[in-house]
C-alpha cells in the first residue's frame, strides 16, 4: 500500500465502523503498542453470519480483495459473537462481544495473518469504544452513565469519568451513545429520557471531557435535535473533515416520539450538527435536516468523508416498516457536500439493505460501498473511483453472510 502518510491516516480514520477517530498522541513514546505491528494482512473484513442475530466472521487479507470471496474457508477466519463493527488502533482491532457477557474484545493480527484474541473487558449492552492512545481508551455502554477508562495494552479497566454532573433533572435513564476525540477533548453524545426505549427529550446532549484529566468539562445541549449518536457500534455518526470540523448526526427519537408518526415521522428531530475546529460547542449557524430536505423518508445514521472532501451516506427510498426496514434492499447511497448542505444520489450502485450495512471506506482512490441485496443475490462491496467516477464490483461474498465492516490497519 503505497500511500502517503497523510492519506494513510485518513484511510484509517474513515474506515473504522465505529466513530473512532484516531487521535495520534506521541505520549508514552517508550511504551510498546498493543501488539506487534502488522503490515502483511492489513485488510480486515467482518461479516454477519446468515441467520445469526449479530454474530459473524472476521478475516484478514494481505491484499485488497477482489472477485468472489468466501470467508468461511479462509485459513485465518475467526468467528465473532458480535459483527457490530470494529474500532482500530495501530495494528489492533477492538470489537464487541455479545453472547452473554457483553464487553470489549481486542484482536491482534500476526504477521502470518492469524487473528488472536488478546483480552476482554466485561461490560454492558451496546458497548462503544474509542481508543485515544496506546495505553488509554474509553468505553461506554447502556448499563452505566459514567464513561469507563481502560488500558488497551493490558485490556483492563483503569477508572471512569464521573458523569454525574451531566445528569438532566427528571430523566431516569441516561446513556452515552457515541464518542469522538479531537485536540485533547473527548466528545460524547448522550441521551436522557424517562425510560429505556421510551420517548427521549427533544434535545441533543453532548459531554465534553478533558482527556488529560478525565474530567467532565461541559455539557452542550442542542434543542430541536435528538439522540446524538447511534445504538450501534458499526455506524459512523461522527466524522472530522479536512477542516478539522466535526460533523455529528443526531439520529432523532428512534421511536418517532409521541404522535410523531413512528419511525419515519416528521417529529423525529434527526439532524446533522457541526462543531467547528477549535470549538467545543455546536455551531449555532449549522443544522441540516438531511432526510427531509432530500425528500427521503429515512433519517441518516452514518457519514463518511473521502480524501477529496466529499461526504457519503445512504438514505431510504420508500417508507418501510420493520422487518422490511432492515431486510429489504431499499437504500441508495448519496454523495454530500456537508458544508453547503447539498447532496445527490450516486448512480451505478445497486440498492442495499438498511441499517445493517457496513460503513464505507476509501482505498487507492476508491470509495468502497457495502451492498446487501438479496434481489440480485449480492453481498459485498462496490467501488466508485474518485478519479474516473466509474462504479463497479470490488468483491463479492460467495458465502459467510453480509458485510458488516471492512477496515485497513495501520
Amino acid at each position: 500500500m503505497n500511500l502517503k502518510r497523510k492519506g494513510l491516516v485518513q484511510l484509517v480514520l474513515f474506515t473504522v465502523t465505529l466513530i473512532t477517530f484516531i487521535h495520534c498522541e506521541d505520549d508514552d513514546g517508550d511504551i510498546a503498542g498493543p501488539s506487534e505491528p502488522n503490515a502483511s494482512f492489513p485488510y480486515v473484513l467482518m461479516t454477519q453470519t446468515p441467520g445469526e442475530q449479530i454474530g459473524g466472521y472476521l478475516t484478514a487479507f494481505d491484499s485488497l480483495p477482489s472477485g468472489d470471496i468466501d470467508p468461511t474457508i479462509r485459513f485465518n477466519t475467526e468467528t465473532v459473537t458480535s459483527s457490530q463493527g470494529m474500532v482500530t488502533y495501530s495494528s489492533s482491532i477492538y470489537a464487541r462481544d455479545f453472547e452473554g457477557n457483553d464487553g470489549v474484545l481486542r484482536y491482534d493480527i500476526a504477521e502470518d495473518g492469524f487473528i488472536s484474541m488478546q483480552g476482554f473487558i466485561d461490560g454492558g449492552q451496546r458497548m462503544k469504544v474509542h481508543v485515544v492512545s496506546e495505553t488509554k481508551g474509553y468505553y461506554a455502554d447502556l448499563e452505566q452513565f459514567n464513561i469507563q477508562i481502560f488500558n488497551p495494552q493490558t485490556m483492563e479497566r483503569t477508572g471512569e469519568v464521573d458523569m454525574e454532573s451531566a445528569r438532566q433533572g427528571g430523566q431516569d435513564v441516561q446513556q452515552v451513545l457515541y464518542m469522538i476525540s479531537r485536540d485533547g477533548k473527548l466528545f460524547a453524545g448522550f441521551t436522557a429520557g424517562p425510560a429505556a426505549f421510551s420517548t427521549f427529550r427533544d434535545s441533543a446532549f453532548l459531554a465534553v471531557i478533558d482527556i488529560e484529566t478525565d474530567e467532565l468539562e461541559a455539557v452542550r445541549i442542542k434543542d430541536g435535535a435528538s439522540f446524538l449518536g447511534d445504538f450501534w457500534i458499526r455506524t459512523n455518526p461522527f466524522v472530522i473533515d479536512q477542516n478539522n470540523d466535526i460533523y455529528m448526526t443526531a439520529l432523532g427519537d428512534p421511536f418517532g416520539g409521541e404522535n410523531n408518526g413512528g419511525l419515519n415521522g416528521e417529529g423525529r428531530l434527526s439532524k446533522v450538527l457541526r462543531i467547528r475546529s477549535g470549538e467545543t460547542d455546536f455551531d449555532a449557524t449549522y443544522e441540516w435536516d438531511i432526510a427531509n430536505e432530500l425528500g427521503r423518508p429515512s433519517i441518516m445514521r452514518s457519514l463518511f468523508i473521502a480524501s477529496n472532501g466529499s461526504a457519503y451516506t445512504c438514505l431510504l427510498t420508500e417508507d418501510l416498516q420493520t422487518p422490511e426496514l432492515f431486510s429489504q434492499p431499499a437504500y441508495h447511497f448519496f454523495e454530500l457536500d456537508l458544508a453547503n448542505q447539498t447532496g445527490q444520489q450516486i448512480t451505478g450502485l445497486p440498492l442495499t439493505a438498511g441499517f445493517g450495512t457496513a460503513t464505507l471506506l476509501e482505498i487507492d482512490n476508491r470509495v468502497l460501498f457495502p451492498i446487501v441485496n438479496e434481489d440480485i443475490e449480492f453481498n459485498g462491496y462496490y467501488f466508485k473511483d474518485l478519479g474516473t467516477q466509474q462504479t463497479g464490483v470490488q468483491f463479492k461474498l460467495s458465502a459467510g453472510g453480509r458485510p458488516r465492516s471492512f477496515v485497513v490497519l495501520d
Binding site: T49, P50, G51, E52, Q53, I54, G55, G56, Y57, D70, T72, T77, T79, T81, D97, E99, G100, N101, G103, G119, I121, D122, G123, G124, Q125, R126, D141, L142, E143, Q144, F145, M155, E156, R157, V173, Q175, A195, A196, F197, F255, G256, G261, G262, Q321, T322, P323, L325, F326, S327, F355, G356, E374, E377, N379, L397, S398, A399, G400, G401, R402
Partner: protein, 813 residues
Amino acid sequence: MKIVNTISFKFSNRKISTFNRSKPYILSFAGNLFTIILHLMPSLLFSQSDVTIEGKITDEQAEPIIGATVRLSGQNIGTISNIEGYYRLVLKRPGVYKINVSSIGFETKTFFTNVKSGDFIREDIILIPSVSSLNEVIVRGKSEKLTLEAGSLSLEAIELGSLKVESSDVAAILNRTAGVNIRQSAGLGSPVRININGLQGKAITFFRDDTPTDYLGNGFNIALLPANSLERIDVYKGVLPISLGADALGGALNFVSKRNRENTIELSHEVASYQTHRSSANVHLKDEQNHFIELLSFFNYSENNYPVDVQIRDPETRNLRDITADRFHDTFLSAFGEIKWGVRNGKWAEEFSVSGGFSLIRDDIQHSLQMLQAFGRARQQEDGLFGSVKYMESSKDHRLNVSVFGALGRHTTMTRDTALQVFNWLGEVERKQGFTRGEVNNGNISLAEFTVTELAGRATVNYRLADDHQFIFNNVITRKRRKGNDPVGPRVTSDQLDPLTVPASLLTNISGLEWKSFWLNRNLLFRTGIKNYYFKNSGIDFGDVFISTFDPIKNSGNLFGANAAIKYIVNPFLLIKGSYEYATRIPEEDEIYGDGLFLQSNPELTPERSHNLNIGIRIDKTFSSHQLGYLELNAFARQQRNLIFVQSDAFSVRNVNGAEANAYGAELDLYYDITDRLTFNGNVTFQDIRLATASQFTQEYLVGERIPDIPYFFFNTGLRYRSKELWEDTFLTGFIYQNYVEEYFLFFRGSPTALPPVIPSRNIVRLGVTTTIKNWSITTESNNVFDAKVFENYREQRPGRTWHLKVNYQMNL
C-alpha cells in the same frame, strides 16, 4: 374335521415357560437376512400327513396375547403365539396330546386333544392373569410390550412395571431407548427436549391414552412424571397410527395410563441430592358394579443448588475469572393431580368416565440461555385446571366400537422479571441496572401473564368388517385461545395498546381413515390410511414493536397426508416390517405467537411436512427355558420440508419457515437373558441429518452439512440382576445403566459463539439397588456415579453425581 373349543383355567404358575425350537429355527443373531429367510421358508410349508392345532390366545378382555407358549406336555415340541395371539402347532403323527399354554403374567392352562391324520383343530384359549404383586408387574407388561413392538409400525413400547421403584423419571427411562435421546438443560424442572430419530422439539408430539396432552398443562411433562404413574410409554418412530389422530412429523410419545383391575393404593417418596423431593400417590378403587375411582398425583421440588463452572468479573479491571459456584436461584416446584370417576362394562357403556385435575409450576430462572449471565430474581409460574369426559361402547358382536373423548384445559402462565439489579454467580448484586430493566429479556421488564384455554375433542370409530379387515376413523379437533396482558411490557406505538391483550387463537382439525387387513394366514399385516389436516389461526404480530397500526393476521390451510405399513411374520422368531408416511405438523400456538419471553410471534407460520420411510427386522430367540433374547434392527429415511426454525435478526427472535433437511439413520436393539436372573439390554443409534436446502441464498454453503444441535451417535447398555427369594417375599434387585452420547456440534460450522461450539461427549453411569419386602420397596441409587461433567442444550451444565433414596409402597385392598 375342525374342532373349536374355548377352555378357561385358573391356577398359579409364575414361572416363565418356553421351549427350544427345532434346529431349522435356530438363528444366528449375526446371520444374513436373506439366508435367514431362505433357511426358514421350508418351515412354513406343511405336508398333508401333518396334524395341525391352531387357535387364538387372548386375555379376558379378548386382547391377543403374543409370545404365549404352546407346548406338548413333557416334550420339547411347541410354538408361541404371534402378534395377533394366533398360534399354530404342527405335529407329525396323530394321537392324544396334553398341551400346556403359558404366558408371562398369566396362569398356565392345560388341555387334552385327540387328533387324527390330516386333522385341522382349532383351540381358542383365554388365559387368566396371575395374581399380581409388586414384583410381577414387569412380567405382565412384557407381553404387551412384545405385542406392540411386533406391530407394523416403528415403535418401541417401554414397560414401566419394574422400573417404577427406581428413582428414574420418565425422561431418564426414555433416554435408555434405542433412537431416543433426552436432553435436559439443567436440574429438575429445567426444559427437556426429546430427540427421536433426529426429530426433536416440537416435531415430537405427546399423547396420553391416544389424546394430545396439551390440555393437561406443562406439569404433565416427561421430566416430571414419575415412572409409577403410567403403565407404559409407546415411542413411535415414523408412522403414527390413525388412532392417535394428531399431526406429527414422524415421532410421537403415547403415555399409556395404568389399567388397574384391582383395588390398589400406590405411594412413593424420593429424597435426592440438592434438596430434591419427589412424591406420588396413585389410587384405584372399584366396586362390584364396576364403578371405579382413580387418583393420579405427583409432586416435585428441588432447589437445584448444584455446583457449576462459571465466570465472575473483577470489580476493578472488569476481567473475567473462572470459579465454581452453586446455583442460587433455581428452585423448582410442580404439582399435578387428577381424579377420575367412571364405570367399565356397564349396561350402557363399555367405559364412561369423567375426570378433573390441576397442574401448577413455580420456577426460578437461574441464567441466560448459555449460562453466561446469572439471574437472581426472574421467575415463571403456571397454574392450570382441566377436565375430561370419555365414553366408549361396542356393538354386541364387537364389530363396531365407538369412543368419544372431550377435554377442557385452562392454563395461566406468568413471568416476573422486574429486577433492577445485575447478579453475579455468587448471588451478589453486582450493579444496578442502567439502560435495561429486568434480567431475562434484554431491555424489557416483564409482568406478562397470559391464559391459554384449550378445548379438545376426539371421536374414534372402529369397525371390523371381517376377521381380517378393520376400518378405523378418527377425528381430533382442538381449539386454543390465548389472551393476556403485561402492565409493564411493550406497547404498540400508535395507541399504547398492550399487544398481549389481543386474543390469539388456533383451531386444528385432524381426521383420518385407516384400513387394516391381514393376509397369508394372518402372517401379513397391511394397513394404510389417509389424513386430513386443517388449521386456522388468528392473532397479531406483536413481536414488532415498531408497528403503528395492526389488524389481526389470519392464516389457514388444509393439507392431506397418507401412510402405509406392512409387516410380515416369517415365523414366530422372525419379523420384518416397513412403513411410509407423508406427514404434516401444524405449528403450535407458542410457535406462532411466541412465549411472551424469549420468542416473538409469527402468525404467518405454515406447517412442516415430511416423507418418512422406516424398515425393520426383529429376531427373537429362546436359548433355554429361562433365557430369551431378541435383536431388532430399524432404519429410517426422512425428508423434511418447510422446516420451522428460530431465526433472529437485530430486532426479533421468531420462528420462520424455510430450510429442508434429509435424514438417515439406523438403530440396533439387543436384549439377552444371561441367566434366569441376570439380563442385559443395549442399543446403539446412528443418525445422519443434513441440510438439503438453505432458507437463504447466503446459507447455501451449509447445504450438505450435518444439522447441529442433534446428537448423531449414542448407545445405552444395562444390566439387571434379581435375586432369588431371600426370605419370604423379599427380593434384591441390582441395576446398572450406562448412557453414552458422542460429541456433536452445537451450531453450524463457523457460527459465532462465545462458547466452544461443541457439546462434549458424555458417558453417564447410573447404579442402584432395590430391596423389595412384600409390598414395600426401597431403592438407593446414584446417577452419574463417576461425577462426569455433563453439558446439554446451549452448553448448560447438568448436575454431577447425585444420590437418590426412594421408598415405594403398594397396598392391594
